[in-house]
Subunit: 458 residues, 2 copies
Amino acid sequence: MTNRKILLTEDEMPRQWYNILADIKLNPPLGPDGNPIKPEDLAPVFPMKLIEQEVSTQRWIDIPDAVQSVYRIWRPSPLVRALSLEKVLDTPARIYFKNESVSPPGSHKPNTAVPQAYYNKISGIERMTTETGAGQWGCALSFACSQFGLECKVFMVRVSFDQKPYRKSMMEVWNGRCVASPSNETRAGREILAKFPDTPGSLGIAISEAIEAAVSDPSGKTRYSLGSVLNHVMLHQTIIGLEAKLQLAKVGDYPDVIIGCAGGGSNFAGLAFPFVLDKINGKAIEIYPVEPAACPTLTKAPFVYDHGDTAGYTPLLPMHSLGHSFMPPPLHAGGLRYHGMAPTVSQLVDEGLLTPKSVNQLESYAAGITLARSEGIIPAPETTHALATVIEEAQKAKEEGREKVILFNWSGHGLLDLGAYDKFLAGQLSNFELPEGVIAESEKVFAHYPKPAHLKRG
Amino acid sequence: MTNRKILLTEDEMPRQWYNILADIKLNPPLGPDGNPIKPEDLAPVFPMKLIEQEVSTQRWIDIPDAVQSVYRIWRPSPLVRALSLEKVLDTPARIYFKNESVSPPGSHKPNTAVPQAYYNKISGIERMTTETGAGQWGCALSFACSQFGLECKVFMVRVSFDQKPYRKSMMEVWNGRCVASPSNETRAGREILAKFPDTPGSLGIAISEAIEAAVSDPSGKTRYSLGSVLNHVMLHQTIIGLEAKLQLAKVGDYPDVIIGCAGGGSNFAGLAFPFVLDKINGKAIEIYPVEPAACPTLTKAPFVYDHGDTAGYTPLLPMHSLGHSFMPPPLHAGGLRYHGMAPTVSQLVDEGLLTPKSVNQLESYAAGITLARSEGIIPAPETTHALATVIEEAQKAKEEGREKVILFNWSGHGLLDLGAYDKFLAGQLSNFELPEGVIAESEKVFAHYPKPAHLKRG
């Protein structure tokens, strides 16, 4: 009987993360004056250890023992041969997935939440703040803070706060405090509430509140945390791909195609970056970040300098962006509703090392159902975008009669998103189109911003 | 660094279940005439293969390859050394748990749902029916049926159906059909609805509907399934304890104390029975089934003949029972709200091989929070009853300065029960007392029933 799961022991878990900044160049983040920002400018927001990782160009960075110890609650995560899916699709492809849904919060997010909490702890920080949209990130940071005895405050976008009460409950079980954003706890929140008392909130507002709550603490013992986009977040996530490489080697396989969904880019980067290194060194691999057709950052938007948040408080980052005022449609895959994309992922697309794809909402849910009824696990709405592309690739392999090896990232489970499946099965979901003129409109804005250079390696 | 997880490869998974009926005797189930029922009497309800297992006294029963293949989606499940809990409690005890929350439906229930679906499939059955209270069992059977291409219909107690809509969604993702009970789909349901249109429903009614839906199908291709209590269910669950034994042996440990929560008895039996065999053969082990203080079947109720369902449709089973008309208080641990207990577990208590314990609701939730903030996983409300007893035992070991080895079963996660944690954290839960006179009242009823004999081994 072929094994479904390829396991590593805890002692086989990689002891270092892979830093792609050793192998590619990035345009620098720019401050309000249009000049590159300096690491120390970020000190009120992040602890120095994380700022150092953000700008480091060292290829391998040690994973501290205390972080490894918490990782071991659920890591190494299983690499799974999707035997049942292969059978349903009757494909000659060998399909593998990294199962990141096995963490306590149910996604890949704690891979970075845990080291972020750890570095804050050893820097003398006592309290962390963050924002969360659909809730996965707020849960992961609450979990991580509970492991290191830190307080955690999460500003959760009001509409999600009301729609997904279990997310708040989950954070509170881990001793996190979750408030609906906009809240009365920050000046930014109070100003918005005064103007728009019934606002559903937005990630942009929640980021502003979380940053303000961190930098305005007079004790200086509070810092802010971001769950995607930044270089140090991608760094921490590479544990996924590094484990996957070891696991595939155990069965003598190597991927022809690598697939992950991409919102801010972190689960995709986590799986893909260690293989991007191989591709840079000459391996022939196709690597597909997959995004919603209704929020097509990589597939349609230009490579520009833009703010990471809606209010424009963050530095300008070099990335593919639909414009920081773009309001993504109300997709159920909340983690993919982001106007921009990690600068590292954007840079790799600009260099042609990645081939972005997009799928629409109905196609992705249909794929989710196919996987739930074959491999058993109910995927997160975000993950279903990768799944739709996996099915397409497996069918192509069948047409071509090729024994292709497909590797994808099962970024999270959908147990707190079952309401969306309900709507899909009842025929109440639809596809969203990108409104006409969005790209042209955003390009008008970008015309006034500095332009990132098209950098090349070597 | 000490490993947290002790893993088995798929090839190391046991190939046989352990049947405790080889080692203990049971009083026979009795039909309406007071005489022992014959296996063939059950043929309209269950497929013959499962009836054979129900009455078998063969010690080891082969796990079919097709069942092993599906088990391998999540099995062997990890045995976890609860290092973080040990640290929090500062105990010399070594604490291990079997993590049964890793299955796709999130509990131990698929250990029996999968073989039940398989035996029905190979018997030419096309459709299965069952009831579910809190929803764990209905989800597990829907998952199992989706693996073997069977239809599945679940009658879910109305009050839970309304309170936990995600359970229905989960069943439907796996192609199960879930209807609120009482329903208009059966005579039993219609009669109740005519009399009590606003009834919240009960497990007793739902069982009646599920049995009727199975036996009344004119095609003869539908059978009923039960998720606990019966001998064949306990048999299938022993995979838990058999794996745990192999895993403990890998680290050279053996339990002094074994703990599991008990409602109908299946997750407890699954972990404990393989060790009960050792106890019968002379090993010194304490084995604790843990039940809610407000539904104290094993700790307070007599060992009698009683019906398994409220309506009295099932045979009389020899068990500890609070009386089939006992209505357990509205505990959030829905899986422990059962008036009776598996005959095998009841028999072992009668023989003094098990030492039942009870804990109240607030104590169990407090333990759940302690575990979530140390080991990370959010436990099911049922599991928290075992956890409270684990903490008590670990504290006792500290007082005694003993290096005791404690093994318990983490029967499921609480991700679809977060609303109950919310209430607990908000101080809105309370303990329930067993109403005065319940035992005396039930004993009056049992006075008219046959009495089970106090059987001994050998």
